[in-house]
């Protein structure tokens, strides 16, 4: 506060008068849009291709990257706790219902879960103990699990994920990579054999492809691109 009474007020008035003529900072939103930072994390959205089908292939990469596991594909919770489903919007209605049930404290029927049979997980625990809970030996664990159950039940995979600390996505990736591991019980063995028999061998595909491309096995010939 200065010694001259009112000087501070006059200074303030001078500042406001100067600002009166300065350029304004308002962004008139619908006409001009502010520049959004490239790193900006907005709302998550699933993309559709030009034919209107969902582009999401449930590859679990986004779920794997999410730090707090809020993303979950296909409506199955990876940890059995938070059902923050992120999936196609056709299922919003049933999720609203689920949410109401959850808030009232009643058990939530998980429609996506009902076809996964409840299995006795004791076998998984023994297998894990044998393999020292080591995620690096995942293939062996999965093979042992398959030999124990005949296939890989989802509950068993989740148990493995829970116990070893490996991501469910990683286990799923491992299991889906190897052709000899399967997720469904091999009950219709006869049909599977019939399908395999009706299918041409892999070599025929390669030959056909090579013929179509005009070179050996699809590679360009010695003359380069013919």
């Amino acid at each position: 506060m200065s010694f001259v009474p009112g000087l501070g007020i006059v200074k303030g008035m001078a500042i406001t008068l100067r600002r009166f003529f300065e350029p304004k900072v308002t962004i008139k939103y619908p006409e001009e849009s502010p520049d959004v930072a490239p790193r900006f994390r907005g709302r998550l959205q699933l993309l559709y291709d030009e034919w209107g089908t969902l582009k999401c292939e449930t590859c679990f990469q986004c779920a794997q990257a999410c730090p707090i596991e809020c993303i979950d594909m296909g409506g199955i919770d990876t940890r059995g706790r938070y059902h923050v489903h992120w999936g196609p919007p056709e299922t919003y209605g049933e999720r609203r219902e689920e949410s109401a049930l959850r808030r009232s404290g009643r058990p939530v029927p998980d429609r996506a879960f009902h076809h996964f049979q409840p299995v006795d997980l004791g076998a998984v625990d023994t297998i894990l103990d044998e393999h020292d809970h080591d995620p690096k030996r995942m293939l062996e664990i999965l093979e042992a699990t398959q030999s124990a159950y005949g296939y890989l039940p989802v509950a068993a995979l989740k148990q493995i994920s829970q116990k070893t600390g490996a991501w469910y996505a990683m286990i799923y990736g491992t299991a889906s990579y190897y052709g000899h591991l399967r997720f469904e019980p091999a009950e219709d063995a006869a049909q599977a054999t019939a399908v395999a028999a009706a299918r041409p061998p892999d070599a025929s595909y390669v030959t056909a492809l090579g013929a179509a491309l005009g070179g050996a096995n699809g590679r360009p010939g010695a003359r380069g691109r013919s």
Partner: protein, 453 residues
């Protein structure tokens, strides 16, 4: 009966309208002609006999109507001005530069629900905005807007002004008490304390001017200040003007003395429970008050309608359109057309990209601007009251802008500081001002007995 109703029902909507409106118009016209023929003379006599009353009614109506656009204009100024000081753009959607936004606000206020809270004293609650609004509008009656442009020429105009403006505190108290809300009650009591305290320095600060002018007639006070801007009372009464301005700010409940509606303390003060047009009345009254105190400051200290300097060229425009006779018709018909063509031609010639009709549009707009300017200039030169009104409004709105400016800058004072300031500083300074003025008058009269009235 059935025949009439059946044929009526067969009419289409436009038919129904025409069948009712046209006969009604015919009947009205005939009635009017007959009534004027019979009663015209006596009615005119009655008007002439009671001219002051008619004049008062006309003036009151005009002033009542004038307050609405004034309030709209000041609200727009405040929204835009504070926005610009805040580095915002402010209203920019309705009308050019958002200038119609305050009008739209007014319409919105009209359409809102008019709500009376349970437990409120509904009669007092309803009348409070009316009292507040009338108290501020009635004071406009004595403000001289220009030579001859004064609602009612009082000998005691200034006294009338203070008497009526003191009424508004009654309205605020009524609103605060009747709202059945503690915030409203606090706001009402604050306004009573504040307005009554600041009445005293407000009136005392004007005494100096009254002594110098020798009258309380506002028209005479303004006429005394004619001439150069050095003749204004601000130079003889700087202290009085300062005290008057501060006290008037408090009187109008403006920042930094807007304690009665301090939104961060007592939600909206006395207006907390009001909605719809009742709130609109409070709102309008506040902005009309801003205009009134600006107008009174201009009247008392800044020369009123007088220009800051005498008109340097003694041009007198002696236009008598009647002298043109039948030529007037030609002028009215031809001048706009000719002006449009003359102004359009250069644009049409200069650039081949401007099409003929575009050039004509430009010419039309320019011609209109030119004519409006010419008419305004002619009015300014030819009529005293146009010049007076222009200067008066210019000065008054400068002060309105200062109020807006202060609102954009200053924080609010506290209630005890407010009271201390009124009673311990402003009142003493006002008395000091009176004594100094009196001493100066005596001294000047002693030196030169002819100097002052």
């Amino acid at each position: 009966m059935t025949a009439i109703s059946r044929s009526w029902n067969r009419l289409t909507l436009p038919g129904k309208v025409i069948f009712t409106v046209v006969p009604a118009l015919v009947v009205l016209t005939i009635g009017l002609v007959v009534a004027i023929a019979i009663l015209g003379g006596p009615a005119l006599d009655l008007v002439v006999a009671n001219l002051p009353i008619v004049r008062f009614v006309v003036a009151a109506t005009a002033i009542l109507l004038m307050t609405i656009p004034t309030a709209f204009l000041i609200i727009y100024m405040e929204m835009k001005g504070i926005a610009l000081m805040n580095l915002r753009i402010g209203p920019d959607r309705v009308g050019p530069f958002g200038s119609l936004l305050s009008v739209v606000h007014g319409l919105k206020v009209l359409m809102k629900e008019d709500f009376t809270p349970t437990g409120a004293d509904s009669v007092v609650f309803t009348w409070a905005p009316v009292v507040v609004y009338l108290a501020s509008v009635m004071t406009l009656l004595v403000i001289p807007f220009g030579p001859g442009l004064v609602g009612q020429h009082f000998q005691l105009g200034l006294l009338y002004f203070f008497a009526i403006s003191g009424l508004s505190v009654v309205g605020l108290l009524m609103a605060g008490w009747a709202s059945f809300n503690k915030y409203s009650l606090l706001g009402g009591l604050r306004s009573a304390a504040q307005v009554i305290s600041y009445e005293i320095p407000l009136v005392l600060s004007v005494v100096g001017v009254i002594m110098l002018a020798g009258t309380m007639d506002l028209v005479v006070i303004v006429e005394n200040q004619a001439g150069w801007f050095t003749d204004w009372y601000i130079w003889q009464q700087p202290l009085g003007a300062l005290i008057f301005f501060i006290a008037a700010t408090a009187e109008a409940n403006r920042t930094p003395f807007d304690l009665t509606e301090a939104d961060s303390e007592i939600v909206a003060g006395f207006a907390t429970e009001y909605s719809g047009m009742r709130f609109g009345f409070f709102f309008f009254a506040e902005y009309v008050n801003v205009f009134i105190i600006s107008a009174l400051t201009v009247t008392l200290f800044f020369g009123g309608w007088n220009a800051p300097f005498p008109w340097p060229w003694p041009i007198t425009l002696d236009l008598n359109p009647g002298s043109l006779g039948i030529g007037l018709l030609f002028v009215v018909a031809l001048v706009p057309l000719a002006l449009t063509l003359i102004l359009a031609t250069p644009f049409w010639l200069v650039s081949s990209r401007i099409k003929g009709w575009q050039a004509l549009v430009i010419g039309f707009v320019l011609a209109n601007l030119f004519l409006v300017g010419a008419v305004a200039a002619a009015g300014y030169i030819g009529f005293d009251w146009v010049a007076g009104l222009a200067w008066f409004m210019l000065k008054a709105y400068v002060f309105v802008f200062i109020f807006v400016w202060m609102r954009g800058t200053l924080p609010r004072v506290r209630i005890d500081q407010l009271m201390n300031f009124a009673w311990k500083w402003l009142m003493e300074l006002a008395f000091l001002n009176i004594f100094i003025t009196a001493g100066a008058i005596i001294l000047i009269k002693y030196l030169n007995p002819e100097a002052l009235p």
